[in-house]
Symmetry: C2
Subunit: 355 residues, 2 copies
Amino acid sequence: MKLATYKDGTKDGQLVVVSKDLTQAHYASHIATKMQQLLDDWNFISPQLEDLYQTLNSGRARHAFPFDPKMCMAPLPRAYQWADGSAYINHVELVRAARGAEVPANFYTDPLLYQGGSDDFLGPTDPIRCPSEEFGIDFEGELAVITADVAMQTDSNDAVSAVRLIMLANDVSLRNLIPEEMAKGFGFYQSKPATAFSPVAVTPDELGEAWSKGRVHLTLTCTLNGRRVGMCEAGEEMTFGFGELIAHAAKTRNIRAGSVFGSGTISNKAVEKNGKKDWPKGYSCIAEKRAMEMLLSGQMSTPFMKYGDTIRLEMKGLDGQSVFGCIDQRVAPLQDPEPPALAEPSSGDDSQAKK
Amino acid sequence: MKLATYKDGTKDGQLVVVSKDLTQAHYASHIATKMQQLLDDWNFISPQLEDLYQTLNSGRARHAFPFDPKMCMAPLPRAYQWADGSAYINHVELVRAARGAEVPANFYTDPLLYQGGSDDFLGPTDPIRCPSEEFGIDFEGELAVITADVAMQTDSNDAVSAVRLIMLANDVSLRNLIPEEMAKGFGFYQSKPATAFSPVAVTPDELGEAWSKGRVHLTLTCTLNGRRVGMCEAGEEMTFGFGELIAHAAKTRNIRAGSVFGSGTISNKAVEKNGKKDWPKGYSCIAEKRAMEMLLSGQMSTPFMKYGDTIRLEMKGLDGQSVFGCIDQRVAPLQDPEPPALAEPSSGDDSQAKK
C-alpha cells in the first residue's frame, strides 16, 4: 500500500492512504491519525489500512479526494532516528578518487553510517532553506526505509524483514561545511541540514520483484533545473543492502519502530569509452558530477545549487508508473515570505544521462 | 518544577509530577499523558503542571504516591533529536594529551557536537546492556537539556531561553569501537549505544542561581562500583554553555521542541602539586582516569567496565538536596533474564575525589 502524511498545521500531520496510481487519497483518521501510531502498532493497524487501500484502488472509497503532493509532509514528518548510509561504494570511490584519496579496505566490508537529524524532516515540495549560497548546497538522491523494532545484534537477513516502508530521500548536503566537520572527527552536523522525503512511502510488496535482498532494482531519475542529469540504477550496485545497514546499526543498540535508514547517494560505476571513463547514467548529486569533471579534465566546473535552483527526484516501477511521487524542491534563502512556485518538470535531457 | 515519566509498558510512558524533595509523585494524566505532548504545547500545559507541582509540594495533592526512581523511564523516553556536545574543553585536552595529540585551535572557538541515537533512551536504573565486555564500556557523566522550538540561525543568547528542562545523562561509550569509527570520518554510531537519563527533569528555575548563562554551577558526583571517583564542578569550566551548543546546532537547521542536547563529559582542569599534575576533583568517565594515568606514569591501568559493574551519578543543589535523583546503572550482558538488583550507594571515597 501507499501512505502519505497531509499537512494540517501540526508537527505530525494527518495520515492518508494514497491510491496505487497516486491520483486519489483518503484520510485514515478512523483507523490511525499519525504515521508513528501505525509504526508503533503495525500488526493491528496495517491490515485495516490495506483494506482502505484496496477500496480506494477499486474506486469505491466514499470520501476519496484528489491526491496533491504539495499538501504532503514527509511520510513520517519527525522520527526518533534517521541514520544515513553510504551503501553505494562507487560514490565513495568517485569522490575520493577526485581528491586523490584511497578508499580504505574496510569500506568494502563494513558499512558507513552517519546519524542525522530527524526532528524536522521536509516534505517533498518544501523549499530547501539555507542561510547562505556559500555553503555549497547539494542534493543527494537516495532510497530510505522505515523499520519496525529491531533487537540488538539482529543479523542482516532478519533485519531485511523489519523494513515496513520504502521512500525516496533528498539528503541535502552543504559541501563546503563538510571538510571542517570531517576533520573534527565527530561526523556531520551543520553540513547535513533537514532531509526531504517523497510524498508517498510504500510497503515493500508494492515494488514486486524490484524489491530483492534489501535492494530496490529500479532507476532513480534526477532532474536538476529541468535537465535530467541522473538515471542511476539503484539495485545492482548497492554494495550493502538495507539488511546490512540495519544490522550494522543494531550491533550495539536496539532500533525502535519508526527509525529511518537511508541508502546514501545512488551511484553507478563508470564505463570505459575510447580509453576514457564515462558515466552514461549520470549522477545523483552534484559532488559526483564535480568529481567526474576533476577526473576527466582536472577541474570542477559544475557549481553547487543557488537560490532558485530546482531538484526533482523520481523513481518509476516495473509498470512504468511513479512509485513514490516526486521530490520537487527549490533552494531558497532563509527569509522568503512567499514560497516560490515549483518549476514544471521538463523532459530535457542532460548529455550525461542517456537511456 | 520536577517531572518524570513512569513505565507503563508503552514507549512513551506516563508523565508524572515529582515533589521538590523527590519523595512524592502524582500522575499528570488529567493534564497531559506524555512528556512530548508537554513540549509540543508548553505554554498551555506547563502552567497547569506547575499548579499540580505546588499542590504536591504543599502536601495537598489528593492522589500522590511515593516516588520510586526504579519505575522511571528517561524523562523523555524517545526523542526526535539527541545531540551531544563536548563542551568541557579540558576533557578533550586530557584525552588528546594522553595520546600525544594536539587540540586543534578551532576547538576553542567552535563547539564539538555529535548526533546520537534518540529512539531508545534508557531509564535511570535500566541496565547498560552490551554484547561484549571487549567493547571498552565506559560511562560519561553529563548534563543535558530539552529545548523548545529554535529557529535556524538563532543566536546563543536567545537559544538559552529555549531550554525547557534540565537533566543528568550517562552517555555510555564503547571506547574500543571509537578509533575505527573516528577514522572513517562519519562520527560515532556503534560506539555510542543507548544513553541513560536521570529520573527527573527540572525546569531551570529549580536550580535558582546555580543556573547562569546556560551553565549549571553545581557538582556532579560519580560513584563507580561504590567508590566516589568524581566530584567535578559543572559550571565554571564549561567552555561552551548550552546557549552556544544550541546556537551551533541551529546554524543550518531548525531545532524542534523536544530536542535533547548534552554537555559532554563534565571535566575539571588539573592543578600542579609538588611539580606534578593532580586532579583533586576526580573524573566523570574512565577514559579520563586512564588519560591521567598515562600522563603520570606512562600507562593506563584502570580497566573499562565489566558485567556487574555499577555507576551512580548525582548532583546536589545549593540546598544540598538531590536535584535530579540518581542515575544508578549496572552493566549487563545482552541476554540476562533476571534484571540484577541495584547496588546500594556507598559512601566510600576514591583518593582521586577529595572535597
